[in-house]
Every structure is written in C-alpha cells, then in structure tokens.
Assembly symmetry: C2
Homo-oligomer: 184 residues x 2
C-alpha cells in the first residue's frame, strides 16, 4: 500500500483557533483568522506578548481538546481503506503536548492504530509516499510528494501542490492508485 503521512496541527486539529481564543481572552482582543492572511499569529502579536503566546502552547491542557478540522475524520477513514496512514506531528517542540496529542488521536481517529503515530521534529525522517502538511519547510525536507494544506500563514506560499480542505484531499487521492509500485 502507498503510505500517506498526515500532520496534526492545522491539518487534523484546529490549533490556531484555540490559540486565538486564548489570546483574545487573555488580552481582551478580537483577532480573527481573517486578520492573519499570509501571517502567523506570532507575526501580528506585539513583542511583549510573545512569551505569553508561547505559554499558551505549553499549558498542560492546550492540546487536550482541540476542535477538529472539518471532514478530516471522514476523509481519513475512507483513505485508510486504500492507503497506509501515519500521523506525523512536530510534538517535540512542545513536550507537554505529547500525552494530550496521543489521547486526542485515540479519541477522534480510533481507526488509526498508535503504531502509526510519529511524534517527531525534523520531518525529513519520514519514509512515505505523501505528506499532507501546512508548513512549507516540512514539505521541502520531505522526500516524497508533498501536499500543502492551506492555513492562514501559508496562503502566499507557491511551488507546492495545494489542498484547501479535506474534500480536495479526497479528490486528489481519488486519482491516485493505492498500491505502491515497487521500485527496483
């Protein structure tokens, strides 16, 4: 079977909306994802609030109850019949996220076994045919075919195969054979 690696944050889990929610609550602001076109939350946050922005991520409960990206469950469930699915997330940058991410995956994606979770940093370590990720630098390090999953921070990135939502992911793979061609 061909193998697809799937990033978590901004692809399966709506990390950004939770980050913005905590930011707005703490600083009495009204930032929306529309304010972020082409930028990360970091880039529009004043310098004296950056430490707090990081602290939100380090909180024990931040990654515990993130909302789902629409259609991620249904499309991955379908794809798992034809492809080998691995979840590959840069969890090492936020060690407090390790346990919460594990539990979140078990709760929302019970059809993907924990043997297929990869908590990593540098994604050049992944051996797979496809990687769906919102970070251009992860796709550039990846050895297979990358798919850039649209997020506010990457709307200006070019040179990638782009998918704007999970329905487009489903369409992309509908045209791809599930069986791997063995290379000699």
């Amino acid at each position: 079977m061909r193998r697809i690696c799937v990033d978590m944050d901004e692809v399966m889990a709506d990390t950004l909306s939770e980050h913005i929610r905590r930011y707005n609550q703490t600083f009495d602001e009204e930032v929306t994802t529309e304010d972020l076109a082409g930028k990360g939350l970091w880039e529009i946050t004043p310098l004296d609030r950056q430490a707090q922005l990081r602290a939100f991520l380090d909180a024990e409960d931040f990654f515990e109850d993130l909302p789902l990206i629409p259609d991620a469950q249904a499309v991955l469930k379908d794809l798992s019949d034809r492809f080998e699915i691995f979840i590959a997330t840069q969890a090492m940058a936020v060690p407090n996220s390790l346990g919460p991410k594990y539990r979140w995956l078990q709760r929302h994606f019970p059809f993907i076994p924990p043997t297929h979770y990869v908590f990593c940093g540098n994604k050049s370590i992944l051996r797979a045919d496809y990687l769906i990720d919102d970070q251009p630098r992860n796709l550039m390090r990846f050895d297979g075919q990358g798919l850039l999953y649209t997020a506010p921070h990457n709307v200006a990135a070019t040179g990638f195969v782009r998918v704007n939502n999970w329905r487009e992911v489903a369409e992309y793979f509908a045209a791809v054979p599930g069986e791997a061609e063995e290379s000699a």
Copy 2:
C-alpha cells in the same frame, strides 16, 4: 551526512534491568539477566504475573530514571560529529513513557536536539541509512542497514549484522564514511 537512527530501550537505556528489579522486588524473586538467555522477561514470567509485568511499564516513573547502557553517551557524542543522529523509540506502546523518555534524553544526551527524537511505533516509517536496534522485527521492517544490538532476548537471532556493545558500534562506524552518497 549519513543518518543513524538509534533505538532507546536496551540500546541506550537499560530498561530490562529496571524491569527485572521491580519484578524481583514485587515477587521476592532473584531473576538475573543470565536467566534470560534467548528469552524475554515475558517468556519466563508465570501467566498470573503477566498483568503486573505490564503494569510496571505503565507506571508514571518507570522510564524516568533508567540506567544508561555503558559507553552509549561517549560513542554517540563522537558519532554525532560525523553522522546525523536520530533517536527512534517505540514509545507509542506505553503512552506514559512519552514525557519520561523526552526528559531522559534531554538529561543524558544533551548534544542531540529534540528535533531529532522520533517517538513512533512501526519503524518502517524511518528514512535513514542505519538503524541500531535490539528488536529483529524492527530491523526487518527498516529500509536501510540494520545493526542488531545484543540483548538477552535476541542472542539466538541470526542473519543480522550484530553489535555486542557500544565499543563495537564505534568500530563499525569507524570504517564507514560519514558523508552520504547522493543516489540519482
């Protein structure tokens, strides 16, 4: 740079001795590693104690303070000058080990950045030139050159390049160029 993946349990960390210590303490036994030639602790444990054997691993503190395998630090420090080192451990089978393993690596191997930790299950996901591991099944799934690190349970395994200790690992890689040959 060529890339080496290194397993943790039984290769960097002496997980087995801690497992035996808790077993002996709980059941008032005197099992030693010598009793295990060719077998895992699971295989010599009576059925009615298997649940407890598993519970030892699930304890919050089990992976927190494991002893080091001799020479692992010094040899990996040397190798990290010539090779790209990733740590690849099957942490997903024991989710309580995720945090403790992260902290253990930071404490004992500060020269390996967390970006190069890989907490995974199925090791076929690793893209690397070498994998040092005590589990034959991990080496069989791996796409590069495997090195079987000797542990009591694998002494009878054949068909692998075997290293008996970290001095032998150093000798093996002394004969290997550090720069990767780019394949076309």
